[in-house]
Symmetry: C3
Subunit: 130 residues, 3 copies
């Protein structure tokens, strides 16, 4: 079983849900009524935090699980926690100014990259040695 | 095996695909040519139904499967059907007016929340008792 | 184990990541600064390639894996490769003009449709014969 990976999956989803709740709050705070998704730069940055996290979910989650299965549960979970930490940093930075989103983005991108390329390497190794 | 959860997964994807087909139809009906995603409020609401369903897929699908694995196939599938029903209600409401999207949204949010928090609780319980 | 399906999953994620990198490049090339996602038609088409690939990820990935589990690893992987090829065709076409996105879209839609409906059929068959 992959209890740690499962736990980190839930935490990542909870964080991602939080970015969605922030969009609802920003809609009210800056008067951007649905279905509009633009109209105020402060709203747009909060919206882009959610959207960018959404964009990374199909990279992160499958890579996390393939890494867990092909390499190990604990290592996957640790990288998953680093990914979430990078995402939190990205969110807090981007909420202040678009220019401040770089560092958190780099951290989460690195963690996701290691998960994806690590899994890919392990899968290829297994296919060759099967 | 998780036959019921697998079945509900397919049904959820079919419904989500349907919201995408509605966007193609709305593009033609309201004259919003790709790559634009705005320009007519009736189109924008149909587009937001698809986008919001997309936003919830990485919450719903992993939560559904973790709930199925850690709690049970049948219970996960029942909550999954409720999620789809809430999504259908959200779609039909939002297609009429932005104000009518609340009830369906609440139903699907509740179902997804139970799946996520139920899975999280069961994972933590297992980790403690492992 | 599902080594071929796992491999194709990584390749699909790599391709999807590539569509995101193209958006970053197009932001700089056409002067569309974050958080904006519109402002120049050439940027918007590149952005829509990424968004549309994102929209299809929750259709493709779960269908691919259910097909692999219920029907077979090799067959799923071959359809997965066809899906990626259709996506590449869609990207190269759409980058040139919105009208040239049709053929690639049809190829990937057909591959994803076979994965989804094939999996659904196999799941229903199992439920009936269980």
């Amino acid at each position: 079983m992959y209890h740690f990976t499962a736990l980190v999956t839930c935490l990542a989803i909870l964080f991602y849900s939080f970015t969605g709740i922030q969009v609802s709050k920003a809609r009210m705070a800056f008067g951007v009524k649905a279905p509009a998704t633009s109209g105020h730069p402060d709203f747009e940055r909060v919206f882009r935090v959610q959207m960018n996290t959404l964009e990374w979910m199909p990279i992160f989650l499958p890579s996390l699980w393939l890494f867990a299965i092909y390499i190990g549960d604990a290592a996957a979970a640790i990288l998953g926690v680093i990914w979430i930490a990078g995402r939190v940093l990205y969110m807090t930075g981007y909420s202040q100014a678009a220019e401040k989103r770089g560092r958190g983005f780099a951290v989460q991108g690195l963690a996701a990259g290691i998960l994806l390329l690590g899994a890919l390497g392990a899968i290829v190794w297994r296919l060759i040695h099967a």
